[in-house]
Structures are given as structure tokens and as C-alpha cells.
Subunit: 344 residues, 2 copies
DNA sequence: CTGTTAGCGCGTTCAT
DNA sequence: ATGAACGCGCTAACAG
């Protein structure tokens, strides 16, 4: 029965502090904004005391309204379930706290409609910019009210939108991954992806895969397999096809998963069907290096996720500050981590 | 060279719309707030047209300032790296969108100092309430400015703070987990935890473990092992001790991991030292059922994470709406999922 | 150095 | 049914 009794009192305002300190609001405002040199020593201590006594905390909303900037930036994530997203987020948060932003994180759960709604919501809160990692945002969604707010794309581009982008060097990564499989002598390879054809990173990875294989036409056989994780029946069907391929292939099959969620689904399935020694029957290589990859012995291409997130905020910051340079792409290299599953 | 040319234009305001529609701001405001019955049909269409033409979107900040509520709630997470957090988040997001809130997500990365800063930041943005899953927030951090804002605790209580709490029924879960190991005939068991002694869920799980073992005094030997994931040297040291225990124990050792991060570290270590068939030498049971548990055959106690997040928001909503009932605890049951690692 | 005044974009009386 | 005027908490001129 200490203080949690009745309805909470409303937070102190700048006027309360002014009254408490026996001065005008302006001086308080100056104090808050660090214009100390313009305040008498006496004034300073009185204000400090008043603030302390009232436990005053300036209202960011009011500040934002007045200044026209609220230090909020939006972060739209297609899929928080993907470890990639969480890792990128770490970089984003670090950069935000370094640059004085507060990220508003939105999770669209791989639904285009939610992406649209969140983007709308974010502009409604007048975020100063957005970092977008989405499935299907279209150009005009990102350019509401004519001007639009500064945006930085992560991992994937958006058709027709000239914005900064930062992500993995997909072509290099997929090429090296494929080469690794070729060097290990695999001759039957499947590239497995989710059915999001509009996602540029998916397309680039797939293209590089086929491009690299093309140089070995005849000797090596490769195909794309689509695994729809959002539709269990469809996924099961694909996996059955996969099983048949494994059983009938002339060589030990190699699988190149386009990202971690796909790799996980494959690993779970094979582990269930073939037992814990499934890697002896099938080789698995994955873009993304999830926490369980080491455990399962899965070869991976680790993305520089933290750097991607950090850099994205830096780019956005420049735009917010008025930077007007043409749109840039920042492609960071992946790191191939060879594990048991692709051993020969 | 379409529209992205010069500096972006500032978003339309309610006054712009009023002018465009040839009316007063008041009518626009009424329109926005759905008071249609008070507006003539003609007025309605004119306003709708004006809004459309200007692509007007009301400024939430200004609204919040005026109304005294901005529909923002804070979500403080101790560790986003823990899959538990992400899963809870899904429930939180679902409930938020159902109840019309926008969650401000903060990630404290297991640092008490960051928790304090984020909490402060959140009140600065005048969030209407907070959902807290933190390491070391103290009562007074959550009661700033006397009244404090409504708070709901997730997974763990805070010393001396009478707030709603929702989380796993830890005693039941840990008891059932321990019983499972006993039923399987293990006589050498270690309970492995991170060194956060102030976290109530950790203490409850550990207590239930020892309590349950106590009923078999003499026959079964159990101890707590502390694994500090934040300090690699220390963790390595602990794991070496663990190795020795495994090698010298009179029985096959059983490990009870207090959460997923701990279980992962253990699994990675054992896998490296003993090879992929490590589960034949050591049994592993974990609170939390991370995505890789099935793959590694690790027995797990799955938490109702989605429900926890959803319920937390519901509780918070009631408080925000003025609910004044005494603090409640909502303890949800876990589900034991038996896998190969605890087979005998 | 300090206080007064006027908005930022919006909702809300209170008239009309 | 509609609009004018005031104020939410704060900053930015402008005086003094």
C-alpha cells in the first residue's frame, strides 16, 4: 500500500518545472537542450533541482511536433522467424543508439498486406526514415504523399525504386557456394528456395547457381526446387519428390538451400527419414549460418548480418540529414564455412 | 527524374485538407474520428475527396499530444537472441494489432544498464504501458515520476513490484522435467543455468528441480552448474568440468538445461567433443523447445510462448483502460516433448 | 542572461 | 450541421 494506490498522476510538464524553479519555460527548454552557456549558474542549479524533485522527463512527442523530427525510424522486417532478421536487427540497434535514433520495429510475417499496413502506420507516426526488408512493397507504397520518406532497403531491392540498398553480395556468395559443391565432385545438385519470386536476393542467388553450373554443362545436373514453407501440404509434396530424387540419383545428392528456414525444413525432414546420419546420404549447403548449423554439420555461407544492419542505419542517417547523392548499393561478402555435410 | 528530385515536401496537415475541402478543421477532425452521423452527405464526400487528393494521413504524434494517449506500448526484451523472446513477440504483435496498439520493441542484450536506459526512453515517448522481460529492472525504475506507467511482467517477477505477471508455470514444468529424468532411471543429474540469480524463473526452476530430487535423497545425486554464456573463458571452464563429470560418473549423466541458449551451448560442446552420437553418452533435457531440438533429438519442455505474449498485452490493455484489480499472476503450463536424448 | 509570444497538428468545448 | 477559438508540451523567434 505504498504508492500504487489510486490513479497514476500525469507526468510533470515543462511548465510544472518552470513554476517549481520560479522561472519561465524558455529557460527550462534551454537547459534541456544544453544551452548552458546562456544560463546563470544560479539558474542552472535551481532548474536541476526542480527537475530532480519532479522527476521531470521531456515529452518526446511534443518535442517532435515542434521540431518536425522525432528521432524515430521504422524497421520493417519480412520474417522475424528467420535468424537473419534478428541478427540484422542487432546491428540496427547498435547503430541507432550510436546515432540517437529509436527504431520502431514491425514484423510483417511474410504477408504483403501487413507490410503495406505497417508502412502506412509508420508514416502516420512520422518516422524520419524506414529500413525495409520486405516481400512485396511496391514503389508507390514507399512514396506516399509525393515526397515519401527516406528509405534504405535491406537484402533485396524493390522494383523501380531507386533507394540505397545494403545486403549480401549474392552473386559472389552463390557462385562460391556452387563452386564448393563442384570442387567436391557433386554432379546432382538442387537449389532449394521459397516461392517468393519477386525477392531480388532469391533471384540473384538462383541465377548465379545456374550460371556457375552452366560452365559444366553435361557433366553436372542442377535444378531449382521450390519449397513453400507457408503451405505444409505443398511442402510435404516437395519433400516427397526430394526423397525420390535422393533414392534414384546416380550420385550422392547435394542440396543448396537459399536460406536458413529452407535449410532447417530440409534437415528436419531428412533427419526424420534417414536418421541422424542423413548427411552421409545427402550434402547440404545453406546461405545463412543459423545457430544449429554447427550442430548438424551443415556447410554454410554466413552473412555479415550485423554489418548489414549497422550500415543500413548509417545510410539512412545520411539521407535524413539531407544527403542527396544517387542511390548506392552496398554489397558485403559472405563467408563460406565448410562442415561435414559437404565432405566427400 | 519523376518525383524523387528535390527535397521532399512536408506531409499534408488537417488544415491543408480543410482548405482543400473548403471547410473548417473541425469537420475534418470529426470525419477522421468517425463521427459521420454529424456530417452532411455532401460534406462527407468533399472531405473524402480532399483527403484522397492530398494523400493525407493524420499525425499520430499530434493526436497523442492532444488526447493524452498515443497507442504506443513498450516491449522490453532481455535477449532477442533467445528464440523464446521472438516467439513471445509474435503473440504480442498479434494482440497489439487486435487491440490497436503499436509495440515499441527494445532489446537490452542482457545488460542491466541498457534496460534502465530503454525504460527511461520509453517513458519519454509516453508509451501507455510496458511489457517487461528483463534481467534487473528494479522496482523504482518501473515507478518513475511517482505514479509510473502500467507494466506487465513476462516470464519473471520483479522484487517488490506488485504488477501483473504472465509466464510459464515454472514449478510444474521443472518438476515434470525432473520426474521424467527420474522415471528414465537417471541417477546423476545436473541442472545447468546462466548466472542470473535475480531472475525469478531461474530460481523457481532450480528450486523445483532440487525439491523433486530431494524426495529421492541418497538414490539420486543432483547439482546445479552455472554456465556463463557472456564470458567465454568462464563457460569453457565450466564445460571442461562437465566433461570430467561425464567421464567419471558412475551412470550416464543427465543434463537439465534451464533454457534454450544454455542447451545450445551444451549441445555444441558435446557434439564437438563426443561426436554426433553424443546423446548416447549424455542425456539432455531443456526448458524451451528451439527449432533445432527436434534435429538434435533433445527432449524439451515447450513453453506456450505465443499465448504468453498475447495474454501479456491483454493484461496491459486492461490496466491502461483503468483496471485497478490487484496484481495477478498468469501461469501457463509447459508441454513435455520426449525425444531420443533422454531414452534409456 | 531572461521572459513573452506564437505556433507545431490536432481534438474539443462552445457558440452559431 | 458547422466553425472559431483554445490548449496539449514544447521550441523558436523576438524583446527586454
Amino acid at each position: 500500500m505504498s504508492g500504487s494506490s489510486a490513479g497514476r498522476q500525469r507526468p510533470a510538464t515543462i511548465s510544472d518545472v518552470a513554476r517549481e524553479a520560479g522561472t519561465g519555460k524558455t529557460s527550462i527548454s534551454r537547459y534541456l537542450n544544453g544551452e548552458m552557456s546562456v544560463l546563470s549558474a544560479d539558474m542552472r542549479t535551481r532548474i536541476a533541482a526542480a527537475i530532480e524533485r519532479l522527476d521531470y522527463q521531456p515529452n518526446q512527442m511534443a518535442r517532435g511536433l515542434k521540431r518536425g523530427r522525432n528521432r524515430l525510424i521504422g524497421m520493417l522486417l519480412a520474417d522475424l522467424t528467420n535468424p537473419y532478421s534478428v541478427e540484422v536487427l542487432q546491428g540496427v540497434e547498435a547503430a541507432c543508439s550510436a546515432l540517437g535514433y529509436m527504431p520502431l520495429i514491425c514484423h510483417a510475417a511474410n504477408e504483403v498486406e501487413m507490410e503495406r499496413r505497417f508502412l502506412q502506420l509508420l508514416t502516420t507516426y512520422r518516422v524520419e526514415g524506414v529500413i525495409v526488408n520486405a516481400l512485396g512493397v511496391s514503389e508507390d507504397t514507399l512514396r506516399p504523399a509525393g515526397g515519401g520518406i527516406p528509405a534504405v532497403l535491406v537484402d533485396r531491392t524493390v522494383e523501380g525504386l531507386a533507394a540505397d540498398m545494403v545486403g549480401l553480395d549474392n552473386i559472389d556468395a552463390a557462385t562460391r557456394g556452387t563452386q564448393h559443391l563442384l570442387e567436391r565432385g557433386f554432379t546432382e545438385i538442387r537449389f532449394v528456395v521459397q516461392p517468393y519470386e519477386q525477392v531480388s536476393s532469391r533471384r540473384l542467388r538462383e541465377a548465379a547457381f545456374h550460371e556457375t553450373l552452366g560452365r559444366f554443362a553435361g557433366e553436372v545436373h542442377g535444378e531449382t526446387m521450390v519449397l513453400d514453407l507457408a503451405d505444409n501440404a505443398s511442402a510435404e509434396h516437395t519433400l516427397v519428390t526430394l526423397d525420390r530424387t535422393i533414392d534414384t540419383a546416380s550420385d550422392r545428392l547435394a542440396l543448396f538451400a537459399a536460406n536458413a528456414p529452407v535449410a532447417l525444413r530440409i534437415a528436419l525432414h531428412l533427419n526424420q527419414r534417414l536418421g541422424p546420419r542423413w548427411t552421409e546420404r545427402v550434402a547440404l549447403l545453406s546461405v545463412d549460418d543459423p545457430e544449429w548449423a554447427e550442430l548438424a554439420g551443415v556447410t554454410a555461407i554466413r552473412q555479415p548480418t550485423y554489418a548489414i544492419g549497422y550500415r543500413a542505419v548509417e545510410f539512412l542517417h545520411e539521407r535524413i540529414e539531407g544527403g542527396n547523392a544517387p542511390a548506392r548499393d552496398c554489397l558485403l561478402p559472405g563467408e563460406l564455412i565448410v562442415r561435414a555435410s559437404t565432405a566427400r
